[in-house]
């Protein structure tokens, strides 16, 4: 067997400057080089990033002041990368499991031994069950897309089952797509100076999109109104003119009630509807069933406040800025359909003063556009078998249900499989039945506990990447700023070596780097050098990111118009099961006080989980700087509920339902959630904190019903699917003194 050695590139070619004096710890320190890159943690902002390196260690990071949107600022997680990349707790070398799964007993092995082990296992799986018994688990810890293209090259050649979908935002994306066609957003520098009102729904920019905030205050300080829709009292909700706080699971009804009121009061944009709308009458039939009074009752809201918001929305030139919180319910697709229709009813689309922003098509790396992953994924001359698809939003269910062949092997990386999928005990059950479970990780996470083989993964600052923002229009190639720490190997080199060892050497020549793959993925008229350190970022060409999207009102829908009645849904509904109702309707969700009253009687709290500022999903939870700010796990409940349960701040509680229980969570009585709602932030590790996913349901948003997620055909925009994390009911009880696990 050949011996593995990783590619060792000279990285000075990316230096913006060498021997750079910087301040650090009260002294002047000379950094060997400063390199420009971008942050690929799954976030709207994709910040321009400067890293200062000394002796191949990152000693300081800063925002890139030349980035037009992120303008030299990072978030707290961005700065904390200094602690993360230098952490003594990093996985330093390959390790093979020697104990039972979950016992955390490993022995150190060499990379050659690791590759030998994987090659042997993959060969065994292929010969015993067929290549479809293998799949990867890849998500967005480092969300850059080059690796998906590179690993797909391997999977295409090998014939693995293919991982598709997202558990984040696709229900809403489908809702938006069926309404307005191709997905584009208007970058904030366009609307910030011109809009009269911002309607921010399901998004908490302080924590998940901080660079939106300067544009928000720029607009509001010159007089624009701000309406925030969020059941949780976010910081930006505190600064809003109107903060709408519907009961979780009922945003759909709230939006339909607002629409009803706007039309009933003749505040709609009749010209836009007549010239550019399709199926308005059919849409109105459903809207008429939801008078604003009824909506307010369902949503448990003050009807006067809702009326005021409806009038404000309709009578101002409004920018509709959608997040993804409102669509993490099983009716999420219809919720986003309703939001899209609300914008169209008022004509707030395709104008500098306001557009309907959901996500731009950078959110869909599998669909060719600015990125063309297929050039890497499907090499010329190779025979590529058609294989089955596995939907990531139902990953554990698919692994447990797959029969012909079963799923027996998985390489998991850039995603917390155990901590981030819903219903943790089912995920662990699924992982335990694998014969080959490899985790490429930077730290010993919940996933590595169950892995057969743990490989030291690279931090994003140690590898190449391709991550255009799904919110703004600027692009910077990610480059390694320093050599990998310890024995870490960039993910691309792991897949390349595995490819060579599995007999595909001609498709994985040793000299191809991530930069080559990125060049292939770029459009012909975009020059790689212009967007690679020391240069960049570039404005993505207008045809991929129009300055004012939909301005010509030539919508890429079946009718060429904005579709109040979605013909595309009718068409897709002929092929697959699901909720394909072509107009938004009063759809209840899977697990909720109204849909499952018997469950609600046992579990009276609706549990929602925000993405806190402290981490990207589960990443960063183990960092001392971040633990220090965040403190121990706490659950927010309303003062009234706390009083009823006899809870004071800091009392220990048990949170439980049929799926599991969390112990020793501290009660935090608050005004931030309303009565009947509990908030436990997402991303805490199962073994270190209070992982909300111990409790969350496996319910999935539509429109398509993918069952357990084993499929022959799938399209992210046509089919949607988002894990409906917030369709979760729980009970909360005070723990007795001395009670512990």
């Amino acid at each position: 067997m050949s011996s593995f050695s990783r590619l060792h590139e000279d990285l000075d070619k990316f230096a913006m400057a060498t021997d750079v004096p910087i301040t650090l710890g009260g002294k002047i320190v000379i950094a060997d080089r400063v390199v420009k890159t971008a942050c690929p943690h799954n976030c709207y902002d994709t910040c321009g990033f400067l890293a200062y390196v000394k002796d191949e260690k990152v000693i300081k990071v800063e925002g890139d002041p030349d980035h037009p949107i992120t303008r030299g600022h990072l978030c707290l997680k961005g700065y904390a990368n200094v602690q993360k990349i230098n952490s003594p707790d990093r996985v330093k070398y390959p390790m093979l499991r020697v104990g039972e799964r979950g016992e955390r007993k490993f022995k150190r092995i060499s990379w050659d031994e690791a590759f030998d082990w994987m090659t042997e296992k993959l060969t065994m799986l292929r010969d015993t069950y067929g290549p479809e018994s293998f799949c990867e688990y890849l998500y967005s810890g480092n969300r850059e897309h080059m690796i998906k293209a590179a690993s797909s090259r391997f999977h295409n050649l090998f014939g693995s089952s293919k991982l598709v979908g997202s558990f984040c935002l696709l229900s809403g994306a489908a809702g938006s797509y069926y309404s307005i066609g191709e997905q584009n957003v208007m970058s904030p520098e366009v609307w910030a100076d011109k809009t009269e009102c911002i309607f921010l729904i399901g998004r908490n920019p302080s924590f998940t999109n901080p660079h939106l905030y300067p544009f928000l205050y720029k607009a509001t300080e010159r007089g624009a109104k701000l309406i925030v829709v969020d059941p949780y009292l976010t910081p930006v909700g505190s600064k809003a003119d109107i903060h709408l706080r519907p009961r979780p699971t009922t945003v759909l009804q709230m939006i339909m009630g607002m629409t009803n009121y706007i039309v009933a009061n003749d505040l709609h944009d009749k010209d836009f509807i007549a010239e550019h709308g399709f199926g308005f009458d059919e849409f109105m039939e459903e809207v008429r069933k939801m008078p604003i009074e009824r909506a307010a009752q369902i949503c448990d809201m003050d009807v006067e406040q809702l009326k005021q918001a409806a009038v404000m929305y309709a009578t101002h030139k409004t920018q509709t800025e959608c997040g993804y919180g409102h669509q993490r319910y099983s009716n999420g697709h219809q919720t986003q359909r309703a939001v899209s229709c609300l914008a169209a009813v008022c004509g707030h689309i395709g104008k500098e003063t306001g557009n309907l922003n959901y996500i731009n098509h950078m959110g869909f790396p599998s669909i060719p556009g600015f990125m063309n992953a297929a050039k890497v994924a499907a090499p010329e001359g190779a025979t590529i078998p058609k294989t089955r698809l596995i939907n990531i939003s139902t990953f554990a269910q698919a692994v447990l249900a797959a029969k012909d062949p079963p799923i027996k092997g998985c390489i998991s990386y850039r995603g917390g499989l155990v901590s981030q999928q819903p219903y943790v005990s089912e995920t662990i059950k699924a992982v335990k039945q694998l014969d080959m479970y490899v985790a490429i990780e930077q730290f010993m996470t919940d996933d590595t506990d169950y892995a057969d083989l743990v490989l030291p993964g690279c931090h994003f600052l140690e590898q190449y990447g391709f991550h255009p923002s799904y919110w703004h229009s600027y692009f910077q190639v990610l480059v390694p700023v320093c050599q990998p720490y310890h024995e870490a190997v960039p993910d691309i080199e792991i897949w390349q070596e595995l490819g060579r060892r599995m007999g595909f050497a001609e498709y994985f020549p040793k000299e191809d780097t991530g930069l080559d793959y990125i060049r292939w993925m770029l459009p012909d008229d975009v020059k790689l050098e212009e967007c690679t350190s020391p240069n960049g970022p570039i404005r993505i060409p207008e045809r991929w990111c129009p300055r004012v999207p939909y301005a010509d009102y030539n919508f890429k829908t079946p009718s060429g118009k904005f579709e109040f009645y979605a013909q595309g849904m009718v068409e897709r509904g002929k092929k697959f099961p699901g909720d394909w109702n072509p107009v938004p309707w009063n759809m209840d969700t899977d697990e909720s006080p109204t849909a499952t009253p018997e469950l609600f009687a046992k579990y009276p709290f609706t549990l929602i989980s925000q993405h806190p500022a402290f981490r990207t999903h589960s990443q960063g939870y183990n960092l001392p700087w971040i633990k220090e700010i965040e403190g121990p796990p706490k659950v927010f409940i309303n003062h009234a509920d706390a009083n009823a349960l006899g809870l004071k701040a800091g009392d220990k509680v048990r949170i439980a339902n049929d799926r599991g229980e969390l112990l020793n969570v501290l009660a935090a009585p608050t005004v931030r959630v309303r009565k009947g709602v509990a908030e436990l932030s997402s991303g805490m590790w199962v073994k270190l904190g209070a992982s909300v996913n111990v409790l969350t349901s496996q319910s999935v948003g539509g429109p398509r019903d993918v069952g357990v997620g084993i499929m022959d055909e799938y399209h992210p925009l046509l089919d949607g699917n988002t894990t409906a994390y917030f369709n979760t009911l729980v009970k909360i009880e005070k723990m007795q003194k001395g009670e512990k696990r």
């Binding site: 301040t23 002294k27 997680k77 001392p624």
Partner: protein
């Protein structure tokens, strides 16, 4: 306080609780978990039936007449004449915590060595004409560090370009 003295101005209306100042400060000062030179406080309020949260980043105030300086029995704390920055000399500190008792804001911090340390207004950066780490990190531009004159000039500029009337005026000077 005099006209040369620098201070850290916080616009609590703008602070959005993103906490970037906290880790940016850690990077700049190479701090471990433990001493926190700046931290954001959260306050919940209900005003006229409307629930609100307010946020306030708090660090050393670099007081005009620092109580900590008076309380220190060994003279480890001083106030720089040229810009009023309050500094502590760790070599002199005996770890008695008198400064912490005296400070109304809880600014003095103690790490593993039990010597007082705290926000030094990134004086090495200010000396080079650079903003403090927290100001540089604040995307809300809620933190402004400078003399009262400098701060007031910045705020006046800010208010002169933020007016409710401007919203509905036709802007003809833009392409």
């Amino acid at each position: 306080m005099n006209t040369r003295h620098k201070t850290i101005y916080i616009d609590a209306k703008r602070c959005m609780n993103c906490r970037a100042c906290e880790t940016a400060c850690k990077v700049e000062n190479e701090l471990p978990a433990g001493p926190r030179y700046i931290m954001v406080s959260e306050v919940e309020l209900t005003i006229d039936g409307v629930d609100k949260c307010e946020f306030l980043p708090l660090s050393c105030m670099h007081c005009g007449d620092p109580a900590c300086m008076k309380a220190c029995p060994v003279g480890a704390i001083s106030k720089r004449a040229e810009d009023g920055i309050v500094l502590v000399d760790k070599n002199k500190c005996i770890g008695c915590h008198q400064c912490l008792w005296a400070c109304e804001f809880g600014a003095p911090q103690f790490g593993a060595d039990n010597k007082m340390e705290k926000c030094n207004m990134c004086y090495q950066r200010l000396d080079l004409g650079l903003p403090t780490a927290c100001e540089a990190a604040c995307q809300a531009e809620a933190i402004i560090v400078g003399t009262m004159d400098q701060i007031s000039r910045k705020l006046r500029e800010r208010y002169s370009t933020s007016s409710r009337e401007q919203l509905f005026l036709e802007k003809t000077d833009k392409p």
